[in-house]
């Protein structure tokens, strides 16, 4: 619970209906889409303008409480979970597209705009927004900026950071800062680049300028069917090595295929297959057929039993729907899931997939894989029922082993879901003390009082401080502020 005085103040800023302090109502904000972590916030505030965000931040910070920004709560790393009774600032009501500047191919929007709705609005100009996370029908651009989200087509088009050209940001001290903007390269330090992917630890973006792309002239979508998942991994590696550049390459494994085919998003994947590989080429019409033919040959050479080609837009969308809704469809197999996000060198895919399957077998767990194969970005979903405590423990062990397996293969702990709460303790697996110190240093420049999304991304015990003197703090260097109550 937050103090009554603060409640009144927030109600004056945002309106009584948009300040939630009732403990029962706050229950629905206790987790994001990764339900393994649950913490009830102290309050939820739903502002509508930059000014309301600014005054909210000031009021909350004045009362010594931490702040957690939240978009649609579709994140998969616990990033929007409020620890220690933090106040959630939700962007659901900041959902207006402020401008679409078609000739200059850019748009300015509030953070609560849904990713797919930006593309829908841009479609009348023949434009679209390229990063397409699988949750794009629900997730918001603000959340995408915080997580530097990717998506299937990032293989060719790159992730969010490549498209954000300007930001209006409310910082922890209540100042409003405009960085970048007008689509041009800003002189000086690349603060936009620094902010994108900061997982709510640097501030809250309240206006976002993004670049749009013209809708490609042509597209070819293939579906390779494999009896062994390793073979599909080999096909991916071969296609990339040969110099082809598909817009997307996605692998959906057997358990996932069966869950999806059972759902309203059935895509026609054969349910007896052990892997389906979706490959898409887009761009100018000329040459597309040739590329698709070459990719088809690589699939057969790697052991595909069949390669289909989407005949029309309807078939193409169905193929994609199955892939994009796969995460939600896992609920058909088990009530809970833990999804990982490790990224490995593509050439190691066949071995890693085999290793993951072995770990699953050893702990007697179902592991369903659906992932951005072209990027080597794995999404093993460990399925379980949190009411089964023994299973819960096995999940933890298996999860750790899978992570270690990927790191040992030269991979990293997250490709696109962010570190958040879930993976912060894995950060020392890939970064040494000097790198972590540098990150802490940058974080404290933006947030000296440790009020913006504390407890996320970096493990607390690695923060340099007098109590934790891994190295001598330089004179005048910022040290960690006391943990908020």
């Amino acid at each position: 619970m937050i103090p009554g005085r603060l409640t009144k103040e927030l109600a004056r800023i945002c309106g009584r209906d948009h300040v939630i302090v009732d403990r029962d109502r706050l229950l629905v904000y206790e987790s994001d889409a990764l339900t393994a972590y649950r913490h009830r916030p102290g309050a939820v505030v739903l502002p509508r303008t930059t000014e309301e965000v600014r005054r909210t931040v000031q009021a909350v910070v004045r009362h010594g409480l931490p702040i957690v920004p939240r978009g649609a709560g579709t994140g998969l790393s616990g990033g929007a979970v409020a620890l220690n009774g933090a106040v959630v600032i939700g962007t659901a009501r900041m959902n207006r597209i402020l401008a679409i500047d078609a000739p200059n191919r850019r748009a300015v929007l509030q953070p609560g705009v849904i990713n797919a709705e930006l593309s829908a609005a841009a479609a009348v100009h023949g434009l679209y927004y390229a990063p397409d996370p699988s949750s794009q029908t629900a997730c918001t651009i603000g959340g995408n900026v915080a997580e530097n989200s990717g998506g299937p087509h990032c293989l060719k088009y790159g992730v969010t950071s490549r498209y954000v050209t300007g930001l209006t940001v409310v910082l922890a001290d209540g100042s409003v800062v405009k960085v970048g903007g007008h689509g041009r390269e800003a002189p000086g330090y690349d603060l936009v680049g620094l902010f994108v992917g900061s997982e709510g630890c640097f501030g809250i973006a309240t206006e976002i300028e993004v670049g749009l792309l013209p809708v490609p002239e042509g597209v070819r979508t293939l579906l390779g069917i494999f009896d062994r998942i390793e073979d599909s991994g080999r096909a991916v590696s071969d296609i990339i090595s040969a110099g082809l550049l598909p817009a997307a390459m996605e692998i959906i494994d057997g358990p996932t295929i069966r869950a999806v085919e059972d759902s309203v998003f059935a895509a026609g994947y054969p349910t007896d297959a052990e892997a389906a590989l979706v490959i898409e080429f887009d761009g100018l019409e000329a040459g597309l057929d040739h590329e698709a033919e070459r990719a088809t040959r690589f699939c057969f050479r790697a052991g595909a039993r069949e390669v289909r080609s989407a005949r029309d837009e309807e078939e193409r969308l169905a193929l994609w729907k199955g892939r994009k809704k796969a995460f939600g469809a896992m609920g058909r197999i088990a009530p809970d899931l833990l999804v990982q996000d490790a990224t490995v060198p593509r050439t190691t895919l066949p071995a890693i997939l085999k290793g993951i399957s072995e770990i699953g077998n050893r702990y007697n767990l179902i592991v369903a894989n659906v992932f951005h194969a072209g990027d080597g970005n794995l999404h093993p979903n460990i399925l379980f029922d949190r009411r089964d405590l023994d299973e819960l423990e096995r999940v933890e062990h298996a999860s750790k082993e899978i992570m270690q397996l990927c790191v040992d293969a030269g991979g990293t702990i997250t490709g696109e879901h962010g570190v958040g709460l879930d993976k912060k303790h894995h950060m020392p697996l890939i970064y040494g003390p000097d790198e972590l110190d540098t990150m802490w240093g940058i974080r404290r420049v933006f947030d000296p009082g440790a009020v913006m999304n504390p407890g996320k991304v970096l493990p607390e015990e690695t923060e340099p401080s007098p109590a934790n003197p891994r190295r001598e703090p330089a004179p005048g260097e910022l040290v960690g502020a006391p943990a908020p109550a």
Partner: protein, 446 residues
């Protein structure tokens, strides 16, 4: 755990798979009309399911303000169901949650009174008679016109406007109503029993008659079904499951006795409810299979028509737009057939409607229980109808007809609202299909 929570826990135990299927992915959020407007996740399907699960887990009392408010604020439009990758049966769970919520805390007087009237024949008949009599005086229409544009449509003003909007479109029934007997040479395709309903029979008998005529013109034999009654949808949505089950039993017996191939529905709310009689009566071993069998024969009138073409009539040169009732498009997943019916009307200009599959805010008695939010959602629908440029709005459910019709009238618009079958009926009438026949009673023929 309180008795009510225990009851939900018990009820949900059977639906457990359904509730646990929710992995919290959040894909339902943008589909929810209340979340879109309020921005509070407690007013989203995922949030409501989370509250239900909290009750089951004993973390939340079903009498608590949060549970009552947010479960109560749901329109029950079920737009979340088709977008759910895990296939959570939200509609069923909502009814259970309302049932439990109602046990923990009595529903409002307005709610109880209305449900009582609809569910009790000797109350419903005089109420509907009074409604028709009032409508015939022209006073509701006059008052509505005088009040147009003065304030958002809600409260008694909305009630009067809804009554006014339930009337027929001027000029449409100028020609004498004739018989819809199969045209010479046409064979009987199947027998159907028409659910005459409570509101339809009371205020929309013309729609029932048109339904029977267009079905017969397409080769269906419409068989009278005695002893049928209200489908119980409103009661189930409000959580009064016992009353809903009693009505379901009665209808199962009535339609079994009629021995029809299909049950024809011209109110999608009723159609959705009757299509789920099997699960509603799943606890009743004597009725379970019979209910499921009857439910399996429920068809929206547009489905029956689309299954045979339908036969094309004469040109109707009008600009119309189609609003898909939630319980047709989301609950029953029927989206193609209404289009097929519109296509069977030559020279009809069908304009696109922005947000055609979003709830109009009618949602049973929502306009009365949640006047502010219902008015907000209804106002958005009215705006998009006006922006469509259509001269006529066509839909497929009496509740939506009254809600949108009332909203349009209160916004000072002259755009009338028609049921889909009324439009086809007009096309057939112009084609001379009914010439020389006899008129129908309430959707059935002696």
């Amino acid at each position: 755990m309180s008795a009510a929570a225990d009851s939900l826990a018990h009820a949900v135990k059977e639906q457990e798979e359904g509730l646990l299927n929710c992995v919290h992915c959040g894909f339902c959020l943008p589909a929810c009309p209340t979340y879109r407007r309020l921005g509070d996740e407690a007013d989203s399907p995922r949030g409501r399911l989370h509250l239900m699960r909290a009750v089951v887990e004993g973390r939340l009392d079903p009498g608590a303000e949060a549970f009552q408010t947010h479960i109560g604020r749901c329109l029950g439009c079920r737009a979340c169901e088709p977008v759910c990758p895990s296939g959570v049966e939200y509609g069923n769970l909502l009814e259970l949650a309302r049932h439990v919520g109602g046990e923990a805390r009595r529903p409002s007087l307005v709610t109880r009174l209305l449900l009582r009237v609809f569910g009790t024949e000797w109350l419903a008949r005089p109420a509907m008679f009074a409604g028709r009599a009032a409508r015939a005086t022209g006073i509701p229409a006059l008052v509505t016109r005088l009040l147009a544009g003065s304030a958002p449509p809600r409260g008694p003003r909305l009630g009067l406007a809804m009554l006014a909007a339930s009337g027929p479109m001027r000029g449409l029934h100028a020609a004498p109503a004739g018989s819809g007997s199969p045209r010479p040479g046409a064979r009987v395709r199947a027998t159907v029993g028409l659910l005459t309903g409570c509101v339809q029979a009371g205020l929309f008998s013309r729609v029932n008659q048109a339904t029977a005529r267009v079905l017969e013109a397409n080769g269906y034999q419409v068989v009278p079904v005695e002893a049928q009654g209200c489908c119980g949808a409103l009661h189930a949505h409000a959580g009064d499951l016992e009353a809903a089950r009693a009505m379901a039993r009665r209808n199962v017996e009535a339609f079994e006795a009629a021995g029809v191939d299909y049950l024809a529905m011209n109110a999608s709310g009723c159609g959705a409810a009757m299509a789920e009689y099997g699960s509603l009566l799943s606890h009743d071993p004597a009725m379970r299979d019979r209910a499921a069998a009857i439910a399996g024969r429920v068809r929206d009138v547009s489905e029956l028509l689309a299954a045979c073409g339908p036969v094309r009539g004469s040109a109707v040169r009008m600009k119309v737009t189609w609003d898909a009732p939630c319980h047709l498009v989301h609950a029953q997943r029927v989206s193609g057939p209404p289009q097929a019916v519109l296509d069977a009307v030559p020279e009809l200009d069908v304009l696109p409607l922005a947000g055609a599959t979003e709830c109009c805010g009618g949602a049973g008695i929502y306009g009365l229980t949640h006047p502010h939010l219902g008015g907000w959602i209804g106002g958005d629908k009215v705006r998009s109808v006006l922006e469509s440029g259509a001269d006529i709005l066509v839909t497929g459910n009496p509740g939506c007809m009254m809600q949108i019709g009332a909203g349009l009238r209160l916004a000072g618009s002259e755009v009338p609202v028609l049921h889909l079958v009324e439009l086809l009926d007009e096309s057939y009438r112009r084609a001379g299909f009914y010439a020389g026949g006899t008129d129908h009673g309430n959707g059935s023929r002696p």
